[in-house]
């Protein structure tokens, strides 16, 4: 299809981006690989020495590692599930005729504009606080004992905060997709006496398959490295209940200042990310073919 000329030009146009990203990736990567083979602590930089794969052994045998891996997957999976399951009805609702739609839409997308640090601080101190938070007050109003979020269900609390931040994104993508749906088809189905439910299942849902794939893909990229929300609210605890891979590496890199170990951890995280990406592409990638 494409002519020789476009091919050449195409390559020429693509090169800057690829080259830049390549440098961006390769320079820190090479340095990281190099550091990962050293016993190198920032606090004792003079005493660095080559230790081979020792850092990897140390990181992978850390009792926290498997817990962190599990927490990472639970976090990503739950947030994806919540944002899609809530985002779909929300998008359907916003696709209806609604009085003051633009205001409602702004209220729905607003969380996406909030810095992760800020939203974590607000949720922790103003909403989920077991003594003075808004939720605690609502619980006492209905006569229930306030939930002690960061004590009893810390991971759930973090998931809720992150899901709140990403719900607008899912809703927006799904809404955009809905707005492009063929209205006539739907009307025809309604004329034929199809119920709203079956219209949804047989017409709308298949139409949403692609946007849902996109939501999964983009959100996964960001959710694998969730950090600020955990740092601000629980600091990975209590115990290891909210430590994910990113936070585990943080505790090596910036609490322990163990550059060697943090580098090894960073490389492990890249491998995990690629495994996730691999499966993601296999499972949902088909939907992205043009």
């Amino acid at each position: 299809m494409a002519t020789q000329q476009t091919q050449v030009l195409g390559r020429a146009l693509l090169t800057p981006a690829v080259a830049l990203l390549f440098i961006w990736m390769i320079v820190p990567l090479v340095m990281t690989i190099y550091f990962s083979t050293l016993h190198y602590s920032l606090l004792d930089a003079e005493a660095w020495r080559f230790v081979g794969l020792e850092n990897f052994r140390y990181f992978l045998t850390d009792p926290a590692f498997l817990t962190a891996l599990r927490n990472t997957l639970v976090l990503v999976g739950s947030v994806l599930a919540i944002t899609i399951l809530l985002g779909t009805p929300l998008a359907l609702l916003l696709d209806q005729q609604v009085v003051g739609r633009s205001i409602v839409r702004l209220m729905v997308i607003a969380p996406f504009f909030v810095m992760p640090t800020v939203s974590a601080l607000v949720w922790k101190n103003l909403l989920m606080h077991p003594v003075s938070g808004l939720f605690a007050w609502i619980a006492t109003l209905v006569g229930a004992t306030p939930i002690d979020w960061f004590n009893d269900a810390p991971l759930l609390a973090v998931i809720l905060i992150v899901a709140w931040q990403w719900l607008p994104f899912a809703t927006l993508i799904l809404l955009t997709a809905l707005q492009s749906q063929d209205e006539e088809q739907k009307e025809a189905a309604e004329m034929d006496g199809a119920s709203a439910l079956s219209t949804f299942i047989y017409l709308t849902l298949p139409h949403l398959a692609r946007p849902i794939t996109v939501v999964i893909l983009i959100e996964t990229i960001f959710l694998l490295t969730v950090f600020a929300e955990i740092f601000v609210t629980t600091g990975g605890g209590p115990g290891l209940q909210t430590t994910n891979i990113a936070f585990l590496i943080y505790s090596q890199a910036l609490i322990q200042y163990d550059v060697g170990n943090a580098s090894a951890g960073g490389l492990v995280a890249v491998v995990i990310a690629n495994i996730v990406a691999f499966f993601l592409v296999r499972i949902v990638g088909r939907n992205l073919e043009a």
């Binding site: 693509l14 209220m107 800020v118 003594v131 003075s132 607008p168």
Partner: protein, 276 residues
């Protein structure tokens, strides 16, 4: 377009939409309300909704302590600069992938996305050393560069999916008329892609504005954006929730206002190729 919608249905959807919208917005609303309370009232139980002693003292305190405008301007320059540069690099790349794809295009795209999955903290020390050696610490240029590179994969991805939807026939028609590829890019493609470009621009501006790891670790004072401003309020000794709320409100106000005026563009183009 004229679907028969009963008035009752409109009211039901309206009520439901407003309820959900309100619930989702509640945390932000609560934060804004808290920012106008005194520290003692911010912590009071039962909480006070509107009938409290409204005060702007928190905003005064925040302004006295830190130069909000300085941080806001930095945020604007850094987020704006990194987004613009990313667009300039990404448009040709995305064009090339969309209209002159090779067998490796998809692999390159996925590889680009995978660069985003590395936890930033794992490469902090290497990057810090590079920045030190190039004199980029606490320089806006350094932050523009790092955020630009960080968001480039997403920008390329968004533009690529958007370009791909543009019917090839139109381009071929233009080519028949003797348009060169350069002219094709400028006069035919770009105008058609404006909604996509706009939403890409906005989304990445938001992401860059909210980036809180690199901006916090690589800036000190001259280049410090609003994320640093927030970090100075997050956990001081003493009662701090009202002041924190005021600082947070200030930090997100510009971006929310921007979002308000541009939501139509943001919604229209935010497809990631999800719409055929």
């Amino acid at each position: 377009m004229a679907r028969r919608v009963t008035a009752r249905r409109i009211w039901v959807s309206t009520a439901a939409a407003w309820l959900f919208g309100f619930l989702i917005f509640l945390p932000i609303l609560w934060m804004v309300l808290t920012s106008f309370k005194t520290e003692l009232e911010a912590f009071s139980m039962p909480p006070k909704f509107l009938l409290f002693h409204w005060t702007t003292e928190n905003y005064v305190t925040v302004q006295e302590r830190s130069d909000y405008l300085h941080h806001a301007v930095n945020s604007l320059l850094i987020a704006g600069g990194s987004t613009l540069i990313a667009m300039i690099i990404a448009i040709p790349a995305a064009w090339s992938m969309a209209f002159a794809p090779t067998q490796r295009t998809k692999d390159i795209l996925l590889w680009m996305l995978s660069t985003k999955m590395m936890p930033s903290v794992g490469v902090l020390v290497p990057i810090y050393l590079i920045f030190r050696d190039f004199g980029l610490l606490d320089r806006r240029a350094g932050l523009v560069m790092i955020l630009c590179l960080g968001n480039l994969p997403i920008v390329i991805w968004m533009l690529f999916t958007y370009f791909k939807e543009i019917p090839k026939d139109i381009l071929e028609a233009a080519r028949m008329d003797g348009a060169t590829i350069g002219r094709e890019l400028v006069y035919v493609l770009t105008p058609m892609a404006v909604p996509g470009l706009a939403s890409t621009l906005l989304l990445n501006f938001i992401l860059a504005w909210n980036e809180a790891f690199w901006t916090l670790n690589l800036s000190t004072s001259d280049a410090a954006p609003l994320t640093v401003f927030i970090a100075s309020y997050s956990s001081p000794e003493g009662l701090f929730w009202a002041k924190l709320s005021a600082a947070s409100t200030l930090a997100i106000a510009p971006i929310i206002i921007l979002g308000w005026f541009t939501q139509r563009q943001l919604v229209r183009g935010l497809t990631f190729g999800a719409v055929k």
